[in-house]
Symmetry: D2
Subunit: 249 residues, 4 copies
């Protein structure tokens, strides 16, 4: 029996991009929200439920293989007949050193970046790609994996070394997955988010502050991700950039 029921996963949910993406995809699918602590997803789950749509929050750490395995067991129990339609990898490293001179950084700072950006995506992709492959034939849209990148994904600016190492490795890993899984029918895309996100706590991106639309609306990111998910398989986008109209680049 072929299931016509599909769900989506958003890994890395907080008050910004993750929340908006979860809300947007919940209009079409039940959504599973993954975050390292319930505080990160509880409000979003409540918000989606209140709107009469389905959301499930699961505490999980993408950088931990057993945590991911256990999360997927929970998913199987909660959504037994559902197949995976879309996944967004939006994990931000646990704590990230801001812009810092290289000689003041520690190996721990580097590992935080490599873990969240590369190892977490690796773990996560190993779990979800078989599920996406299993949805190719019947999914309403081409099964999709979208990864949230940043300016540092394509540029090693001075003093951004550890973040740049993690984000650029993540980007090229995503590109390799696109080349391997695209021909199998899975759409793997990468978005270079070039600018600050307009969330209350986003105080560490002071650029363009005070200008209307000087920061990226997380809803606008969510719209772009939804658009990527709905692209026809004869015209997949592998990468796009997103930045405020006033951003210097």
């Amino acid at each position: 029996m072929v299931s016509d029921k599909f769900f989506a996963i958003v890994a890395g949910v907080g008050p910004g991009t993750g929340r908006s993406v979860a809300i947007r995809f919940s209009e079409a699918y039940p959504v599973v929200l993954l975050a390292r602590s319930p505080e990160s997803y509880n409000n979003v789950v409540a918000e989606i439920s209140k709107a009469g749509r389905k959301a499930i929050g699961i505490t999980a750490d993408a950088t931990d293989e057993s945590s991911i395995t256990s999360a997927f067991e929970t998913i199987k129990k909660e959504l037994p007949d559902f197949k995976l339609a879309a996944t967004i990898y939006n994990v931000r490293p646990n704590s990230r050193p801001s812009r810092k001179p290289f000689l003041e950084l520690t190996l721990e700072d580097l590992d935080t970046s490599l873990n969240g950006n590369i190892r977490g995506l690796f773990n996560f992709a190993q779990s979800i790609l078989p599920l996406l492959l299993g949805s190719v034939e019947h999914s309403p849209q081409p099964p999709t994996l979208i990864v949230t990148g940043a300016t540092a994904s394509i540029r090693g600016s001075a003093k951004w070394s550890v973040i740049a190492a993690g984000k650029s490795g993540q980007r090229i890993l995503t590109q390799s997955l696109a080349r391997e899984f695209g021909p199998l029918g899975v759409h793997v895309a990468h978005a270079v988010i070039d600018g600050g996100i307009d969330v209350p706590d986003a105080t560490h991106y002071p650029r363009n502050d005070g200008t209307p639309d000087g920061r990226i609306s997380p809803y606008a990111i969510a719209e772009s991700y939804w658009y990527l998910h709905t692209q026809h398989k004869s015209a997949f986008t592998q990468e796009l950039d997103l930045r405020p109209f006033i951003e210097h680049f």
Copy 2:
């Protein structure tokens, strides 16, 4: 008195991308179709009119300043109270030498590529950018210029020298316009079309032939262009790629 009436221009209309884009944008705006000969746009104008929407065909050559000037005079007469919401530059050089050894090419071959890809866009952009700037305040979507690129826009493959010179110059010209006019509220985007277009006459791109969705659906390109046009100004895409899922890249 502020006009709330907006129109779109598609420069470079034929049976492929231009036709699909014109049809897609005609759902929202009256569309002006530019081509070097009426045969290129007559059917598309008829198709749009038959669907009860408005389309105007104008014979013009983007590489010729006076031809462009005259086209915009016609537009002013035909759509006197309308403002420009969106423009797509989709012009293909008049005749393009296919893949050819460099020493067999002539300066004329090069000029054909530079004229259609760079000089035509330059002329066209000089005419439409003041109009788009004039629409920033009231346009339903951020006023938009979208340029159709190709694989050769980012890569100088062996024996594609003249096309690559023209397309890459066009791409970087577009990028410069994005950086100058973005902060003024105009969305300038470039699409790297990486694959053959699925039109009856596209016999010169034999790649992926016979595979369903092995060629790009021009409707899928039109959908992406429409999506670019509707992006919120806090999250403009400057460049995206579009390719069939099975394309090697």
Copy 3:
């Protein structure tokens, strides 16, 4: 009879890069200096001759096919038994508009950039590539074509539109030639010169002024070009960047 006598051509000689490159290559080969007027090369020819080495100045305009044809006839007369070992395309467009808002530019400004950067290189390459191919078997170093690029070759900054269109088209044309002629034994390389050149008249690049080595020494460029020329054919460089240590990039 195989000639063991080789010469070099520097197209685009002035007081900066062209002069230094001509002097550096004259240590190994007789050099032909091309410029649009004798004032540009007379001093350099005198300087090289005074040092006991051979230099020939020829007035020519790379963007003019017949001028290039005539220059090569002169070369044949002056250096009848010599084969071509190396060529540097260092032509700067005749007059270049500095950084300028797009809507203040004219088609003439664009043509100046396209002519000097793309059409001139095209003409020149059509004349010298057959000569370089003819030198593959016996040249002391792999026959070489080096093209001088700039920051605008890889980036369309705001208000640099016409220069960026010309330089980026030139770069990708060079890349295409590298891919076509590399496997035939000709080394085609492109240098992205990212910074102001330290010549007396270079007053239009005020960046880093006053800092020792804040501008690029043209001798340093010449050394890099010579190095590119001497690379073993198992390890050709297609592109390198050159910038002052203090340059922001």
Copy 4:
């Protein structure tokens, strides 16, 4: 008292690039060779010593902080009055999975790549950058750090995911270091080695086999590295590519 004695370090020595680079730099400086086992450097140390030049082999693992610390203590003892002029990071991950479908890879495969390519460079750079900074004033050439990259540094090909993640992260980390330390006088460069190396054991790169110069001569790489080291500080190269003339790219 200012030392006028300088030395070089090559991290990652085997029968290919590391050996050739060590030999080349030993012509100018005593060289320290680092490798995970003495078998990797013993022959090279003997070869350099036999030629009457100085080489010191030290067993060390760049991915292990304490191993690196201990190596630098040994260096201090062996070359007490010497300052660091140049360092090459040429470490290859301990064991690398060849081209492999993503779903057959393990987190261990990924970690091998991240450790050797990114974490090892991070550790190593933290130790050598203070030494290079200390040499800026008196070094005969600008103090230099060169990192050996690969095709995977700029491209995530299908089935090369873990190598591409490590190499691309390494490349952008290097770029960030170039931007931070260049203005302080340290030359940080990255070489994209695009092709197989011509060493007896390089059986896993069968491309171009049988063609003279179809594989990269490690001596040619060494010459390029030496050239990078000697560049004037008004014209640093941050990145160059190196590939056999017949390589498709």
